[in-house]
Symmetry: C2
Subunit: 69 residues, 2 copies
């Protein structure tokens, strides 16, 4: 909870994506987001807008809170 928001998102994203057994490439395609951008996000190297996070959540079938809290 004390980690940076971007790191938190990155960790949650990677955890949920791998739990679903999907590669970054496949997931990027489903979420309609560039492959390298997903890579950046999972590393916590980007500070995305809520519209991007919304697309991630929908593609994973989870709530935004699951990705950010």
């Amino acid at each position: 909870m004390e980690a940076d928001v971007c790191k938190r998102l990155g960790g949650n994203l990677k955890r949920l994506r791998t739990a679903a057994g999907r590669s970054q490439e496949d997931f990027a395609h489903d979420a309609d987001i560039h492959r390298t951008y997903i890579s950046d996000l999972e590393r916590g190297a980007r500070n995305p807008t809520i519209r991007v996070v919304d697309r991630l959540a929908k593609a994973l079938g989870v709530s935004m809170g699951d990705l950010l809290d």
Copy 2:
């Protein structure tokens, strides 16, 4: 739930802020965000980054999920 993310955030923000009995100006100061930007956010006219939403959540004492879900 099907509304745009920005509209959802705006509604939740306004509801939680007024429930706490605070003005946009005071709240903007606490969250260290400009007053005009808070106004824009509550109207759903902006697409903020997750770092901004994190500051909003902390200033309100709620989780990010409370603001976005």
